[in-house]
Each structure stands twice: as C-alpha cells, then as structure tokens.
C-alpha cells in the first residue's frame, strides 16, 4: 500500500514526435532475424477513426519466457534482446513492432505482452495486455482473461497472421473497446477517472 500520494499523469500531447521516438525503437530485434515476428495493428477512437498520434510501448519476456533485465533498449547493439520497445503509429494509425513470441513465464501460463498506450487526447497512459492466441487451455485458465466477459476477453487476444506475425488492434472507446487495466489495489485512485461519466450516464 502506498504511503505517498502519486504524481498525476498528463496527456503525452501532440508534440512527442521529436522527443520520444529513437532509432530502431520498435525493433526489439532485427527484422528477418531467426524467430522474429511482426506485431502490428491500428489504434482507433470512439468514432472508429484511426488515430494518427498515438505511441505505444511493449514490454515482454523472451521466447523462453525469461524476463530480461538488460540495458541497451535506447541504443540497440543489434544482438541484445531487452524485451522493451516503443512504436509510434503512422498517419493511418498503424503501429508495428519487430519482436519474438513471448514464452510463458511459468509452465502452462498464458503468454502475453504488456502494453502501455499514450496519445494526444488521452489524459493518462493506459495499460493493457496482448495474449498469444494459440494455447487455449492456458488462455482459459488465465486469471485476468477468465475474469472477463467472453466478448471483452477477445479484445486482448491477438490474431495470428499467415506470415507468423500477430495482429492486434486497440480501440480506445466504443462497444468493442479494448480492456484497459488498473493495477492500483487502493482502488479509488484510477477507477474514479470515470466517475463523472458514470454520473452522467446514470442521469440520462
């Protein structure tokens, strides 16, 4: 339980483009190297339009399920897999990462990549997860997925592409809104962000 009140977040704004991106930021390993896959998708707003100014970060274990704690993400040496990457969407809202399929961190665990989403117009970063689609038993037993309605659960599971890559879209708002996560157990903090909205919905 936290003792100190946390510093609030603020939107990443529109002008991060000359600051946050860096050389090979979205290449956790070189494209085309053994085991590399493409993770891609589109970020959409509540009207179904692609968002041209979002930036994502992924953080994942290696293909063996090992959590790598090695430096060298900002200045990549071309050989060290650090497990972390940053990718800006292009004008059509599409992001791309070159990475590996994360391995399960324990036998039988569902393998997933942790994702943080930032965008102009998004007041605070959002956390979510993208799961590999294959191991249905592991997915069924996953503590997070099994706590979700089947419809919402789908939003966290990537689609396997013919070329071995993964496609996973993010929807910030709407009927098929992606499940976003709140990790603060002292609850009132982040869940209250929608208090005003709920109040309006209840009045309506």
């Amino acid at each position: 339980m936290s003792k100190l009140a946390p510093t609030p977040g603020q939107t990443v704004g529109p002008f991060y483009g000359y600051a946050l991106p860096f050389n090979k930021d979205n290449e956790l390993l070189a494209p085309g190297s053994p085991g590399s896959i493409r993770l891609q998708g589109t970020v959409y707003d509540g009207a179904g339009n692609a968002i041209p100014d979002a930036i994502l970060e992924i953080w994942q274990p290696d293909s063996e399920g090992k959590i790598v704690e090695r430096t060298g993400s900002l200045v990549r040496d071309g050989y060290t897999f650090t497990g972390w990457g940053r990718g800006s969407v292009g004008n059509s809202g599409v992001y791309t990462f070159t990475t590996v399929n994360p391995g399960p961190t324990a036998p039988g665990a569902a393998a997933f990549i942790s994702v943080a989403v930032f965008a102009r117009g998004l007041m605070n970063r959002l956390f979510t997860r993208v799961y590999l689609p294959e191991n249905e038993e592991a997915l069924a037993n996953d503590p997070l997925l099994s706590s979700l309605d089947p419809e919402r659960r789908k939003t966290l599971i990537a689609r396997r592409d013919a070329d071995g890559g993964l496609t996973w879209d993010i929807r910030l708002q709407g009927g098929d809104e992606t499940v976003f996560l709140d990790f603060q157990q002292d609850g009132s903090l982040e869940t209250s962000v929608n208090a005003d909205h709920s109040a309006r919905v209840n009045q309506a």
């Binding site: 003792k3 100190l4 009140a5 946390p6 510093t7 609030p8 977040g9 603020q10 939107t11 990443v12 704004g13 529109p14 002008f15 991060y16 483009g17 600051a19 509540g46 339009n49 041209p52 953080w59 274990p61 959590i67 704690e69 090695r70 430096t71 060298g72 993400s73 900002l74 650090t82 497990g83 004008n91 961190t105 324990a106 997933f112 990549i113 942790s114 943080a116 930032f118 102009r120 117009g121 998004l122 007041m123 605070n124 970063r125 997070l144 919402r152 910030l172 992606t178 499940v179 996560l181 709140d182 990790f183 157990q185 903090l189 869940t191 209250s192 962000v193 929608n194 005003d196 909205h197």
Partner: protein
C-alpha cells in the same frame, strides 16, 4: 468510416493540434474561454460536492474530461479493469549509461550557440509510493522553446524557432533517485481547443519505475502561472492538492550564481507491488556496466 474522411482529418491536423472535428459539429458557434471556464467550473463544483459528501480525493486526471475536446472520443467509457500485476508487469525495462549520454541532460549545449531565454535548472528525485528512490532509471523530457514554439513540424504557432534549442533531454537517475536538467524556461503557447486557448508553460516528463505498472508520462508546470485556472489539461486533475503535485517550486539553493534559476520537482510513482530485496531497493538492478 470512409478513408477519404480520415485523410482529410489528417491533413488539417498537420497544421495545429485541433479540436476534434466532431466537437465542432456539435456546436457551430465559436467556443470561447468563458464557455470552457464554465464547464471547468461545473466539473470542479461537482467534485467539491462529492468530496464534501465523503468521497476520497482523486489523484489522477479524469480520462473523461470533455473540456479537453480531443479527449471526447479518446477515453475508455468502460471502467478500467482491476488486475493484479503479474510476471513481466512486476519488472521494468532497464536503462543504463550505454543508453543515455551524460550530456543529454543539458538542453542548452546541444548546438553551436546559446539558446535564447531564461536558463533554468530543474532537479529533484524520483521516488516510489513508499518513498524508496527509483535508481538507475530513465527520465525523458521535451518542451517548447522560450517563445512557446516546439520544433515539431505540426507546431505552426508563429513564434520563432531557436536554431540553438531542440528541447529534448534525457538522464538516468542517481542512486538516490535524483535527476537534474539544465534547460530554458519554456514559453506559454496557443492551441486550438477553443478560441484564445493557451497552455501554461510546461515541460513534458516521462518516467519509468522499478515495475512497468509505474510508468508515468506527465507535465511539470511553473509556480504562479496565471493560465492554470483556464487550462483544460491541467484542470483535468480535479483535485487541487493533486494538481499542485505537478507544479515545481522555485528553490534558491538550486539556483546557480550568475548562471541559472533553480526549480525543484519531486516525482512520486505509484506504489510497487513486488516484494523487494534489500539490494533492489537501493538500485542494484539498474545499470549492469
């Protein structure tokens, strides 16, 4: 949505960060600061009422905060789903001196000449919710120049660019969680949220903790800014105490004689969920070199 429409929206976005087209359709009339201030006040009043009725204080911005027009279609409408952080989420990417050069923390020496404006030092510590220093972690900043202009191509504010100022810095925190940047005090700048909308001067900050769930991107402000009550982004944090946590303090001890004014700003990340070993708590996990 037809593709052409998206393309058109993008084209207009190249000029300035606009209000969402959808907001403009809702009300054809030009929205003034008075309109926005009334909305901001109404939401503030509702929050004050809720506090009086015993609700706990909010510490984060509202994701759903319509006075910031661009947020209208970009906030989740379903509650964030409570989850216990697991495995990878309980660790953080590691950064070290291989990633960041020591000179990257001085934004005034990145070009051949001295940048225009008021030279300042911004320094403080990054701590977790239990007060433990976040050691050996990455801090990134970006900002407008002294005249309120970003080097970003989408910023078309007709204020001069400064050939000697890019406005991007990085550093790795010390063993005590400390960071320090030398930079130029950024100017306020206009944006298109509503007519005569101006952002208070601010520096964008990006921080990592010892767990990925502590990831924080925010904005640091300067004390006494007259634009605070008018700014929908700052006011999206409806709690005054929480808003104050984004405002640096002038610190004469930090001021460097005949060189630069000092501002102190400490950053508190959310509490960590992992069970800590003694060594980790003092930052051995950071730089492997």
């Amino acid at each position: 949505m037809p593709h052409e429409q998206t393309a058109q929206a993008l084209e207009s976005e190249e000029l300035v960060p606009p209000a969402e087209p959808h907001a403009a359709q809702e009300s054809k009339k030009v929205e003034t600061q008075a309109d926005l201030s009334a909305e901001i006040k109404a939401m503030g009043d509702r929050y004050a009422e809720a506090l009086k009725n015993g609700r706990g204080p909010e510490t984060m911005p509202r994701l759903d905060y319509s006075p910031y027009r661009s947020s209208i279609l970009r906030h989740p409408t379903k509650s964030l789903h409570h989850a216990d952080p697991e495995t990878i989420e309980l660790y953080s990417p590691a950064f070290g001196h291989q990633d960041v050069h020591a000179l990257e923390s001085d934004l005034t020496i990145q070009h051949n000449g001295e940048p225009q404006g008021e030279r300042i030092i911004v320094a403080g510590r990054v701590l977790d919710g239990d007060g433990r220093p976040v050691a050996g972690q990455l801090v990134e900043i970006w900002q407008a120049n002294a005249s309120g202009r970003y080097i970003h191509k989408r910023d078309q504010h007709p204020a001069p660019l400064d050939p000697n100022f890019t406005g991007v810095g990085r550093c790795i925190t010390g063993d005590d969680g400390s960071y320090s940047f030398t930079t130029i005090k950024p100017g306020a700048y206009p944006w298109k949220n509503h007519l005569n909308a101006w952002r208070p001067a601010h520096i964008h900050f990006s921080m990592f903790g010892s767990e990925f769930t502590q990831r924080l991107v925010t904005q640091m402000y300067f004390p006494g800014d007259q634009l605070f009550p008018l700014d929908p982004i700052y006011q999206s944090i409806v709690d005054q105490d929480a808003r104050d946590r984004l405002v640096a303090q002038y610190d004469h001890e930090l001021t460097s004689p005949e060189w630069a004014l000092g501002y102190k700003w400490d950053i508190i990340l959310t509490g960590s969920k992992r069970t800590w070993t003694e060594n980790e708590a003092y930052g051995d996990a950071g730089d492997e070199e």
